[in-house]
Structure formats: structure tokens, C-alpha cells
């Protein structure tokens, strides 16, 4: 074959262009290979980016995935408000799933502890929801840079009949050749943002003007100060003995349930300020999530059980 060198491409692809093109390719692979794919929509910034990429991938058609939100019932009101507005704005289909049985039995972090509560209201609810909807592929916004155990995660991550992840038995993943094969009852978790970092997410949100939940931006909020973590005051958050609400200028770096995810003190009320802050304030973003470090290696544990 006489290969001539390719003509100069129309433009030089930047780092973000590459990440975008890769994510779009992955989203299309999911649409082409699965019968009942969904997007696990947590309403957080990564989810917002994922949904935006899905819109791009199938343009001018609508993206062929419903959004599934696992609602723990301990969500921030701003988050629910944003969710409903955003979904309507882009004309997507939303399915909200709650672990009704656990809620009926009164699951809450105070009596069960955060690990167990999270296991019931997020992990089990998620696994149950996927089974009920007969989902064979669940797209999620997780990134490899988030946490140690995620660094080894595949883009196409196989889950067995119980929704469990076996870190010892992952399929090799080479080039952009993903293996989408699952038998009935099994499913695939797919992470198009695997190679993105927190910086990339914010840069992209800024570049593409993607709307995100206002909780990410700093403003004065009433909080309980718990160790190094600020817990915003909400009706379903209980004060510990002696705790008094204080007014602090703060923002959320990663969104979780009201009782278990903390805010950080911050002045960053715009995206460029958030990016600057990430530079000066170099702590991993899940640090303010109570659940991630209440057990040693807790993330790997949760993931094996099916947590996202």
C-alpha cells in the first residue's frame, strides 16, 4: 500500500477536544451494543458533563438513553430543583429510583451509621433499580483520578448477576476496542469520563457553558462546623450535642447526601475562581465525603458491592 501522509487536519485538537472525542466514541459504542442502556444521573458536575456529551454524540438526534437518578431522599433541595429544570430544558427522559423498602424501615445515617445507610440508599437502590429496569449498560460519570481504587477501573466495567465488580477479574481493555458482551442478568458500567481529571471537568464546563447545581459555587450558608468539614444546615440534618449553626462562605466540591457531605470554606463563586482554587487548595475532592474514609479502603469495598 502506498500510504501518503494525511492532509493537515482542519485544526489542532486540544487536550479537551481529545477527551471529548473519546467520550463521544464511548457513548456511541454503548448505544450501538446494548438493548437497554441508561445514564446514571447523579445531578453532579460530572453527570452534567456526561449528559452534555451525550447530546453531542447523537446530534441531530436525541440521545437514546433515559436518565436514572437514584434518590436517597437525603438530597439537597437545590439539587432536586436543578435536576427537574435541567431535564426539562434538554427534553430528556428522567427515571427516579428510591429504595422504598429501606426508607419505609426508616433507614438514616444516624441510627445505621453512614456506611450502612449509604449501602442501602445508594448501592442497593442502584443495583435494585438497574435490575428492575433490566438495564444492560449503565453509563456513569466516574473518573479514574477521583480515588485510588478507581485508577484501575475499566471504561467498560463488567458487573455480574449480583451487580458486583470483581477487581481481580477485569477484562483487558486495549485501544478503543471495548468488549460489551454480557449474558442476561449481567450488565456493564461504562465510564466515558475515565480519563478526565477534576480540572478537565471544570475547564470543559466553562468552555461549553454547561449548567451545574448552584451548590458548587461559594455563598454564605448556614453550616455546622464538624472537624474540618462544614455540614450545611438542612431540615433533615441533625445537630450533634452542643452544635450551633454558623454562617460561613462555602461551597460543595462533590455532592452527596445532606447529612454526609461537607462543604469547604471558599470564595470561589465563578468557574475560573474554582479552577484557581483547585490549584491552591490541593486536596482530593472526595475528602469531604464522610463515607469514603470511615472504613479503610472503603471505596474499593463499596465498588465491589456495586456502588458507583
Amino acid at each position: 500500500m502506498t500510504a501518503t501522509l494525511p492532509a493537515q487536519a482542519s485544526r489542532t485538537l486540544t487536550h479537551l477536544d481529545h477527551l471529548e472525542a473519546e467520550a463521544i466514541q464511548i457513548l456511541r459504542e454503548v448505544a450501538a451494543n446494548f438493548a437497554r442502556p441508561i445514564i446514571l444521573y447523579s445531578v453532579g458536575k460530572d453527570s452534567s458533563v456526561l449528559v452534555h456529551l451525550a447530546r453531542k454524540a447523537f446530534y441531530p438526534a436525541k440521545f437514546p438513553f433515559p436518565l436514572v437518578h437514584v434518590d436517597t431522599t437525603y438530597e439537597y433541595p437545590e439539587l432536586i430543583e436543578f435536576r427537574d429544570w435541567f431535564v426539562k430544558e434538554i427534553g430528556a427522559e428522567l427515571i427516579v429510583h428510591v429504595n422504598e423498602a429501606a426508607i419505609a424501615e426508616g433507614a438514616n445515617p444516624y441510627s445505621l451509621g453512614t456506611a450502612k445507610c449509604c449501602g442501602l440508599l445508594r448501592t442497593q437502590a442502584l443495583v435494585g433499580g438497574l435490575q428492575k429496569l433490566k438495564v444492560d449498560a449503565a453509563l456513569g460519570g466516574a473518573r479514574r483520578d477521583e480515588e485510588r481504587s478507581r485508577a484501575k477501573e475499566r471504561v467498560f466495567s463488567f458487573r455480574n448477576k449480583f451487580g458486583h465488580w470483581d477487581p481481580k477479574d477485569q477484562r483487558p481493555e486495549l485501544w478503543s476496542l471495548y468488549n460489551p458482551k454480557v449474558d442476561p442478568g449481567e450488565h456493564m458500567r461504562v465510564f466515558p469520563l475515565s480519563n478526565w481529571t477534576e480540572f478537565d471537568i471544570w475547564h470543559y464546563i466553562e468552555r461549553e457553558k454547561i449548567p451545574v447545581v448552584p451548590l458548587y459555587f461559594a455563598k454564605e450558608r448556614e453550616v455546622y462546623v464538624r472537624g474540618g468539614t462544614l455540614i450545611p444546615v438542612q431540615s433533615n440534618v441533625r445537630a450533634l450535642p452542643g452544635e450551633k449553626p454558623e454562617l460561613r462562605r462555602c461551597r460543595m466540591r462533590s455532592l452527596g447526601c445532606t447529612p454526609c457531605s461537607g462543604a469547604i470554606e471558599s470564595d470561589a463563586d465563578t468557574i475560573p475562581k474554582i479552577i484557581d482554587e483547585l490549584f491552591s487548595f490541593r486536596r482530593s475532592e472526595r475528602e469531604n465525603r464522610v463515607i469514603d474514609h470511615d472504613q479503610d479502603g472503603s471505596m474499593e469495598l463499596k465498588k465491589r458491592e456495586g456502588y458507583f
Binding site: A3, T14, A21, F58, Y59, R148, L174, S284
Partner: protein, 521 residues
């Protein structure tokens, strides 16, 4: 930071034997570029384990595959990220144990450069050569040898020189790659993120400077576009979504649709952000063509005058990745680009010893971590480029039909044509092209086998297929004439029940209405 966003990232893999200092080196890169978070650094400072003899054991920052090794947990490729004002980086960190050819190959498959550690105290080891060979085999362009622990040999020029010349001697078998050598101390940081004064005989850049400035070459193939998905919003729009595997395409370009061989022109290059005049390698786009041609997922649009070879038989280098051995008679699933077909490994020509570079013959079936030159045969013709020309259109994976596991990864060497047999058959092919035959009969050529050949022949005939029976070895030309050949001894086994549905799912019979059934494969 803006600058780093403007450029494309560099993806590199790291390899080294156990204790060569790979974890320390990565920890050093993360630490000196502030790629590690403060809470992680605090955790390392507080750690009771410290084997470094320094204030802080940087190898712990990457959490150590060590801990995992000791506890017998996953040993696998881990991906890590860091950035400098010049560039962003992704490290594919692969464990150094010699048995992990599989993981090395995985990490290397998406890397542009490889950093291979050599322990100055031990010199070039068998693993060093294994790492370089696998990196080379997977098409990594830049091979960087970091000769580490130079502090422990007093920055000896002789030691460095001896290792370097040994590697240069070996490097002849990795023809075409670019080589770099650096004396470093991961422990103290010399020549890792900053230039050191310790080695006066070395005037080159630090490892980080080198990584910041490496240029990644584009794929050497012309325009290649595997169709991923057909976008049909329902208003008459029909676009072919995919990612440009190599080359570039512009509005008005003539393209060829493979395997059916029809031609058309690009009417529009559609994206969410507006139409483009031109798109190049790596871009995810949607193409609209001027003519109404049947195109579905798995087809490939290529430069009309520079097509890839199309064939059912090809030579490849195969890395075996599973515990279960190759079963010679078994039909596996093969995925190449966006195409999935059935395939068999029909010959194992030799095994490659990645340490010596020697080719050995082998009696035993291919097993975990073996690297072999094989011949693969597929049920349908595939458009393939040599892997050295284009990674995306020259690579494939094999999937076990029962366990669904990815069991092997392959790099195409060349498509094998069966010229001689063609002459043996007493007829010549006229001006009617293979593509036209496919259009007419609604199927691709294939050799089939059945427990009920009569039933199969009848069903295919009724369907309107060009079907023939053949005793003995099937001449290649018969297939090239577009026929479905029912053989007694070879070919794809077709079940007795619902043979047409099976052939349709195998991609041999084309769906009658290509545009009604979605684009699942």
C-alpha cells in the same frame, strides 16, 4: 494552565522490574509537579512504612502495587494523571512482574511513549528487554530508558555508559522506534523533574522536559472512518457517526464504502457545534453522504483511491491474555474497529521470546502471556491496515464465545491473498465488482458448513442468494465471485434451526431493509 489545555496530552506507560524504583519515580513526578494532593502527601508522611532512607517515601504516593502484591489483590494497570504548565500527562502504570505481559500490552496499546526503568545497580535485565519488546510490539513510538539509582553508583559514567551501549546494541531489533537514555535518581529527583549537575557527561533534558516536548506522529494511513452508529432522527436525515481513525476528510471528498465497494461523496460533516469543512484523526463526527447507499455499523468509509486491504485471512501478532489456552478448532468472536465477526486462529507460526527476540516454534497451545505470530481467518472480509500504519484499523481483540472474556489482542501484519488458487480455477472475474454482487444478492461471500446442507441450500436459494455446493477445499476465487459456498469440510458452522437468522446475525446476510432495524450488530 491554559497552555496545557491547548496542547494534546501525552500518554505514556511506565515499566520496570520489581524494585527498580518505578513507584518512587512516579511518586517523584507527581510530587515535583504538584500532581499529588496534600491529604495524600500527609498520609505518606505519616506512614510507618518508609524504605527510602529519606524524609518521605515517595513510592507510597502511588499506593504501591506493593501492598497489593503482598495481600494478593489485583495487579493491574492503573491510570494516573498530572500536568505541568506545558502539558498534561496520563501515566499507564503497569506492574513490573515478568509475568504481566498482558497488563503491559494493555497499558502500551494507548500510549505514545514508554518510560522503562533500568536499575543502575543491576544493569540491563531480562525484564528490561521484555518491556521494550512489548512496548515496541504495541507500536509505541518513543522508548525512554531511565537509568535509575545513579546516586547509588556515585553517578558513575562507566556504569551509565555500559548500560546505554548494551541497550543501543539491543535496540536494533526495535527498528523504527526512537530511543532516549537518561541517568536519573528517582529518590533524590535528579534529572526527573529538574536537570541535575551530578552527571556532567549528560547534557540532555530532564525526564519531564523530554516528556513535555515529545511530538506524537499521526497514524500513517489515509482517511479511515469505521462507522459506529447510524443517526436517524426521523426527519429524513441520515448520518454516519464515528471517529476518524486516521487521515482527514473534507466536504466534497470522494469516499469508498467497504466492504461493499460503493462510492459516494461527503455532503456534510455534522457536529453539535456546527458543520465542519474538514475533520482529521481523532475527531468524533457524523458524515452525511450525497448518495443513498446502504451503510450500517461495521462498515468503513475510506479514501476512495487509497483503500486498505480487504480480506478474510491475515497474518497477525497475537498477545494471549487469558488463563484458558487457545482451542485451535474453536470459533471466537473478533472485534476490529466497529466490526464484529467470527474468527479462527488457523495457524500458529512461531512464538516470540520477548527477552531474546528469538522466534521459537511451539507445540503447546498458546497460553497466558504468550506472544505469537498467527494466521487468522474470519467469516467475512475485513478492511485492515497493517498495525504499524494505523493502530485503530490494524488492531483486533478475540472474545471467547462462551465466557465473553477478552482472551487475546492482535496486531495485523498483513492480509494474505490466495493468488495461486485463483489461477487454478478455470474462470476469470469480469467487470462486475464484488460490491455490485453484494448489492444484487444481499449477502457477503462466505464459506458455510451445516449438518443439513440440503436444507441450507434450499433456504438460501429461496432467499435469493447466490449459493453453491463444493466438495473439497474451496478455491478463493469462488468467494471472490461473491458466492455463498456450502462446503463439506470447512467454513462457518450454520445451525440447522433458523439458518437465515443466524447468517443475518453473523453479518453475512444483509438485512432486507437496512434502515429499519436500528444499528445493532
Amino acid at each position: 494552565m491554559q497552555a496545557a489545555q491547548e496542547r494534546s496530552a501525552l500518554r505514556f506507560s511506565t515499566a520496570g522490574s520489581v524494585d527498580d524504583g518505578k513507584s518512587t519515580l512516579i511518586g517523584r513526578l507527581l510530587f515535583d509537579t504538584k500532581g499529588a494532593y496534600e491529604d495524600q502527601i500527609e498520609a505518606v508522611k505519616k506512614s510507618k512504612v518508609n524504605r527510602s532512607g529519606r524524609e518521605m517515601d515517595l513510592s507510597l504516593l502511588t499506593d504501591g502495587l506493593r501492598a497489593e502484591r503482598e495481600q494478593g489483590i489485583t495487579i493491574d494497570v492503573a491510570y494516573r494523571f498530572f500536568a505541568t504548565p506545558q502539558r498534561r500527562f496520563r501515566i499507564a502504570d503497569t506492574p513490573g512482574h515478568e509475568q504481566y505481559t498482558r497488563n503491559m500490552a494493555t497499558g502500551a496499546s494507548t500510549s505514545d511513549a514508554a518510560v522503562i526503568l533500568v536499575d543502575a545497580l543491576k544493569g540491563v535485565s531480562r525484564q528490561t528487554l521484555r518491556h521494550a519488546t512489548i512496548s515496541y510490539l504495541l507500536g509505541i513510538e518513543h522508548l525512554i530508558f531511565a537509568i535509575n539509582k545513579m546516586d547509588a553508583v556515585g553517578w558513575s559514567e562507566d556504569t551509565y555508559g555500559a548500560i546505554r551501549s548494551e541497550l543501543e546494541r539491543q535496540s536494533r531489533r526495535w527498528a523504527g522506534a526512537k530511543f532516549y537514555f537518561l541517568p536519573v535518581s528517582a529518590l533524590d529527583g535528579d534529572n526527573v523533574a529538574w536537570r541535575s549537575q551530578q552527571a556532567r557527561y549528560y547534557n540532555g533534558p530532564s525526564l519531564l522536559e523530554l516528556l513535555e516536548t515529545l511530538e506524537v506522529s499521526p497514524a500513517a494511513a489515509p482517511f479511515r472512518f469505521p462507522v459506529q452508529y447510524v443517526t436517524r432522527p426521523g426527519d429524513g436525515f441520515r448520518g454516519f457517526a464515528g471517529r476518524v481513525a486516521s487521515g482527514a476528510v473534507a466536504k466534497g471528498d470522494e469516499v469508498l464504502v467497504l466492504p461493499r465497494g460503493r462510492r459516494s461523496r461527503v455532503k456534510e460533516i455534522v457536529t453539535f457545534d456546527g458543520s465542519l469543512a474538514k475533520a482529521g484523526e481523532g475527531e468524533s463526527i457524523t458524515l452525511v453522504l450525497e448518495d443513498e447507499i446502504d451503510i450500517s455499523r461495521g462498515d468503513m468509509l475510506v479514501a476512495a483511491d487509497e483503500r486498505p486491504a480487504l480480506g478474510r485471512r491475515f497474518a497477525a501478532e497475537l498477545v494471549w491474555m487469558a488463563e484458558e489456552h487457545l482451542e485451535p478448532g474453536l470459533t471466537y468472536l473478533l472485534r476490529a474497529g466497529t466490526k464484529e465477526v467470527y474468527a479462527r486462529v488457523v495457524a500458529v507460526e512461531w512464538l516470540l521470546d520477548p527477552e531474546s527476540g528469538e522466534q521459537r516454534s511451539s507445540e503447546a497451545a498458546l497460553g497466558l502471556n504468550d506472544i505469537a505470530r498467527v494466521v487468522v481467518e474470519t467469516t467475512e472480509p475485513l478492511p485492515l491496515d497493517p498495525y504499524r500504519t494505523c493502530r485503530e484499523t490494524g488492531s483486533f481483540i478475540l472474545i471467547h464465545p462462551r465466557s465473553n472474556r477478552t482472551i487475546a489482542a492482535g496486531m495485523v501484519v498483513e492480509v494474505i491473498r490466495r493468488e495461486r488458487e485463483k489461477k487454478d480455477l478455470g474462470f476469470a472475474l469480469g467487470p462486475v465488482t464484488a460490491g455490485e454482487r453484494v448489492e444484487r444478492y444481499g449477502h457477503l461471500p462466505a464459506v458455510l458448513r451445516s449438518q443439513d446442507p440440503d436444507g441450507l441450500e434450499r433456504a438460501l436459494f429461496e432467499h435469493g442468494a447466490l449459493v453453491l455446493r463444493w466438495a473439497g477445499a474451496v478455491p478463493a476465487a469462488l468467494e471472490e465471485a461473491g458466492a455463498l459456498v456450502i462446503s463439506e469440510s470447512e467454513g462457518l458452522e450454520v445451525p440447522v434451526e433458523n439458518p437465515l437468522a443466524f447468517l443475518e446475525s453473523a453479518g453475512i446476510l444483509l438485512p432486507r431493509d437496512d434502515f429499519s432495524g436500528g444499528e445493532g450488530i
